[in-house]
Assembly symmetry: C2
Homo-oligomer: 224 residues x 2
DNA sequence: ATACAAAGTTAAGTATACTTAAATATTTTG
DNA sequence: CAAAATATTTAAGTATACTTAACTTTGTAT
């Protein structure tokens, strides 16, 4: 049987291997999951024995096909719950992650399909992450650009935020940043890489750390 | 911290003490929770030490005020989830229990209040059970009568089903029995206590076992 | 190449929630 | 009221998922 812990490990291995592409080191995993290295070594053996990851001592772990499919299922549940809580119950994009983090482990295939239908098979969750489909395929999302790489004078549309920290989300909301918000880059300060942007009728200065979490697409009709 | 297991124990102790009023024996609990007597003895000590039940060796357990409040909270979550899954996602009354059984343990106070608001503070769940309120109070429900005690010639309205077995619920649905369905008693066979009833335009024979799970209220204008 | 620091694993121990089997209360009954 | 039957607890052991501390491997730096 796959436990809540194992689901969380698989999900994290998946997320880390998306970033780095290769095998995931046990200490990176330990860091992300807030457990000791020892706990990871132990679990790595178990997951290996269940055929969910490949694991060689001192060489890190990597999802197998089976493990990847399982991870995508959990991520699908997570993102569908987030979308559903926003849509059906009106939670905000800063509130849904914490709830989904728990509900994702207690959701039958039957229920998640009902939620998917209710939402009409959405492609993205409230933070702009693609929702894996029933068959494990990930919907194509438009190529996006990190805000730190945006250019002075251009207008962009916000399409993704890659950190679901509640404080960050609430801060973004407080300066009118949401999914699909239009944003124009006024200037970049090379001293700290902070940027000055226009959102609606107001100017805001965003730190490099904040900008690095936000992804955008360039608007065609970019010069006024 | 209160674990999923502990929540299930408290819920079951509450349900059993509603039936029997007094202390709950460890073996009855073991039976209901499908664990060994030994597991119950152990858990009884732990719950006693956390002040959730009183427990004396060989004398069974009883919820304290704190334990009862906790139990009602879990039951509230369960019944609100059942109602919500039916209302928002269109699950049937035979499907909601199994899902709620899992979700009830992973639901924040914040989320359950949102669900309660969405449903407009319902008094009863899809099986006719009262939903404990935020403050722990249980809404008054009309006095009801077991179908086994119904009298020949009378018309009744179904207000509660006290077993959430999926097969039973699906069977009831198949003979058009739902909450608020009107039903008329034609005759009772004293041989097996089975009853013949009219529902809509059809006659059905219900076994004593089935009737014993169904509760009704007498309709005022009962004779045609 | 060696030596050392960092990364990772193993060992030993803890807590939770179970099990079966043995021991001990309690209750029933002749 | 004592013996037998039944109910319940304790003892010992298992699995999961953690911990810290000791040990081993790996990679790097001179
Ligand atoms: Mn999330
Ligand atoms: Mn999780
Ligand atoms: Mn139920
Ligand atoms: Mn439960």
């Amino acid at each position: 049987m796959i436990t809540i812990s194992k689901e969380d490990y698989l999900k994290e291995i998946y997320n880390l291997s998306c970033e780095s592409r290769a095998k995931v080191s046990t200490s990176t995993l330990a860091e992300k999951l807030s457990v000791s290295n020892a706990a990871i070594s132990e679990m790595a053996k178990k997951l290996h024995n269940s055929g969910l990851v490949t694991y060689e001592k001192y060489k890190g772990v990597k999802l197998t096909g089976k493990g990847k499919r399982q991870a995508l299922k959990i991520i699908r549940r997570h993102r569908l719950w987030e979308s559903f809580l926003m849509d059906a119950l009106g939670l905000s994009w800063s509130e849904v992650h914490a709830e989904a983090e728990k509900l994702e482990h207690q959701t039958s295939d039957f229920l998640i399909d009902r939620i998917d239908e209710y939402l009409n098979h959405p492609k993205c969750d409230p933070h702009g992450h693609p929702i894996p489909q029933r068959d494990g395929k990930i919907p194509a999302v438009p190529q996006s650009l990190n805000l730190t790489a945006a250019e002075k004078g251009n207008c962009y549309t916000i399409v993704k935020v890659v950190d679901e920290n509640k404080e960050l989300m609430d801060y973004l909301t407080s300066i009118s940043i949401g999914l699909n918000t239009e944003i124009k880059l006024i200037e970049r300060l090379s001293f700290d890489n902070s940027i000055l942007v226009v959102i609606g009728n107001s100017n805001y200065r965003l730190s490099e750390q904040v900008a690095s979490k936000v992804f955008v697409t360039l608007n065609r009709n970019s010069n006024e």
